[in-house]
């Protein structure tokens, strides 16, 4: 009987104890797996979302994030200039505001309001029903939440009162026609969003700033890549700030996202310590209860390394069994935790906190393997240094 078979029989001899050990490892292993997913999940998800919009550069007036800094003057001309660079496929100017859609209630529905300008470029939303807005026409697209709350549909007429940053007076409502229902990639689950052309947004905002935008979004040519496009745009417009998707994600990571990285690190350390403690205690107590048997095996000719291998294999079986079980448990737990965290206000619906990566699985397996080894060290020390004759004597006396 080899060491693994021997270890298996030793474990099933005490099924309650072995089962609890496996379950304990499964529980902490699930938490460990989830923390590994969380450590990079948000960053990966945000990066995917940014890339899915089809734009890989963002140009702003200052180093503030889009929508948080001053407007870019002469945005339309600058967008056209950027789109003519050889390394650029397309560019659009985007401006953010807010608006009250005067429907669905006495005060209306408060929404995010976007205005877009740019030729030959796809808009940063997907039309679900109806059609897209036409530049220069008082048309808006609205998202599903807005449509539900205002009971508007494609073709509906509606009045809009804009609320624009820097505006010093109350703005009059402006009439619009809903041209279509759209899906916006950065919408939160309960978010309300509407969009129109940049010109019509400026009109709704008082008509004074028709050529300004919060951000110019740029899609680079595939053959050139974002790095080349960044340097080309920076050379063309040195007074503006250019941010690639990777750099944007980097900034997110250094900012608010860092909390989740830290908590995942702390909880990873805690769960690993817990698992090591659990397995070490289980094995040590188990071995202490059968020292006589182990001494007898040594007396019968089992080598020191053989009995050490038996103990190590027990650790591997408990951690291995628990580790395997931890994966489906961890996956279920991740779904639940993700569901909780996605309720943070402002988090886009398509962003997830727990994202599966093969590297997380590899790290998980590596950490569990290390746990099996470390947890077995003390019990192995006991059996390796077991004084055979003294133990046999003690067993008789005891």
């Amino acid at each position: 009987m080899n060491a693994m078979g021997f270890a298996w029989r030793s474990l099933v001899r005490q099924p309650a104890r072995a089962s609890l050990g496996v379950l304990g490892v499964a529980a902490v292993g699930a938490l460990l797996f989830d923390m590994l997913l969380l450590s990079q999940g948000l960053v990966i998800s945000m990066r995917d979302l940014l890339e899915r919009t089809g734009f890989d550069l963002r140009v702003t007036a200052t180093d503030a994030l889009p929508g948080q800094g001053p407007l870019i003057p002469n945005a339309v001309e600058r967008t056209q200039a950027i789109s003519q660079l050889s390394s650029v496929r397309s560019a659009i100017a985007l401006r953010f505001a807010n608006a009250f859609v005067l429907a669905g209630g006495p005060r209306g529905v408060y929404t995010t309001f976007q205005g877009v300008a740019g030729t030959g470029a796809a808009h940063p939303w997907t039309i679900l029903r109806g059609r897209d807005v036409t530049a220069g026409r008082p048309e808006i697209v609205i998202n599903e939440n807005t449509a539900t709350r205002t009971r508007l549909a494609a073709g509906s007429r509606v009045m809009l009162r804009a609320s624009c940053a820097g505006q010093k007076q109350a703005l009059p409502p402006v009439p619009f026609i809903v041209s279509g229902i759209a899906q916006f990639p950065f919408d939160s689950p309960s978010g309300t969003t509407i969009a129109t052309s940049l010109q019509m947004l400026a009109t709704a905002c008082g008509g004074n700033e028709t050529n300004e935008a919060d951000v110019i979004m740029v899609a680079s040519q595939e053959r050139a890549g974002p790095a080349v496009a960044v340097s080309d745009v920076a050379a063309l417009l040195p007074d503006l700030h250019v941010l690639s998707n990777a750099e944007a994600v980097n900034r997110f990571e250094r900012g608010g996202f860092t909390y989740f990285r830290q908590i995942s690190t702390v909880l990873t350390a805690v769960t690993l310590s817990f698992a090591v403690l659990l397995i070490t205690v289980l094995l040590t107590v188990s071995i202490n209860q059968r020292l006589g048997e182990i001494a007898a095996l040594r007396a019968l000719g089992f080598s020191r390394w053989r009995v050490v291998a038996d103990v190590f294999c027990e650790s591997v079986l408990i951690v291995g069994g628990g580790g395997l079980l931890s994966l489906p448990v961890g996956a279920l737990l991740a779904i639940g935790l993700d569901h909780i965290l996605k309720r943070i206000p402002g988090i886009p619906a398509d962003v997830h906190f727990f994202v599966f990566q093969p590297s997380a699985l590899q790290v998980h397996l590596a950490l569990l393997s290390a746990t099996a080894i470390v947890a077995a060290l003390y019990p192995i020390r006991i059996v390796a240094r077991l004084p055979i004759a003294a133990t046999l004597r003690d067993e008789v006396v005891g």
Partner: protein, 232 residues
């Protein structure tokens, strides 16, 4: 290269001293003896006289503090732990007072275990195990675990396990210590049979009836062999 003059074990002035906080304790002092193939030796004496310690030294479980101990001509004290383990696995068998069968294995698996460790091929060890179970009269209990066996049956399995690798020497430490008289008698007869089949046997016991079955009786007191007698 070792030389042997036919002795299985040759002990010359071996001693075993245990360092204790209150002062060293001499468990075995200056003992010399020889074990030849086929010997049937009993070591008897009062509790604490060092008989088990002497047995452990003869079985290469414990090294002497002083003196020379040769096993088939090899100086045991010069062997590594691994070499001593191999020696015990292939050439020495142990029977304990408390049996020390592995409770999670069946009787057959307990007997197979040392053979498996000695890399005996599967078919061969299965055959040998079956033979040994027949030999000890427990062929029908092969699939039973120790918890399902009586004390005498467990000791018979232990004896079968001890001779599984056909050792030249069998050491038994109080083999009937936890058994009643009748069962002890059965075990004693089985051990006699093992000896008669060619295995040298050394038994530690304080049971006079068991000792009388040996051809040579060594009486120990205070770590020394006080007297040596042969039975008729």
């Amino acid at each position: 290269m070792s030389t042997t003059n036919g002795h299985i074990v040759e002990a010359r002035n071996i001693s075993r001293i245990f360092p204790m906080p209150a002062g060293p304790v001499t468990a075995v002092a200056d003992v010399s003896l020889e074990i030849l193939p086929g010997d049937h030796i009993a070591i008897r004496g009062p509790s604490g006289c060092g008989k088990s310690t002497l047995l452990h030294m003869l079985g290469c479980v414990e090294a002497p503090t002083a003196g020379t101990l040769l096993f088939r001509g090899d100086d045991v004290t010069q062997l590594s732990d691994r070499q001593r383990s191999l020696l015990r696995l292939r050439q020495i068998g142990f029977v304990f007072q408390r049996f020390f069968l592995l409770p999670m294995l069946t009787a057959a698996e307990n007997i197979e275990l040392p053979q498996s460790e000695a890399n005996v091929p599967k078919a061969e060890r299965r055959q040998r195990t079956h033979e040994l179970l027949e030999y000890v009269g427990l062929a029908a209990r092969a699939a039973h675990r120790p918890s399902e066996l009586s004390g005498g049956e467990m000791q018979r399995v232990a004896i079968a396990r001890a001779v599984a690798n056909k050792p030249g020497l069998l050491l038994a430490d109080e083999p009937t210590g936890e058994l009643d008289r009748a069962t002890g008698e059965q075990i004693a007869s089985l051990l006699d049979r093992v000896n008669a089949d060619g295995t040298a046997l050394v038994i530690v016991t304080h049971d006079p009836a068991l000792a009388e079955r040996s051809t040579k009786i060594l009486s120990m007191r205070d770590g020394r062999i006080e007297s040596e007698s042969t039975s008729a």
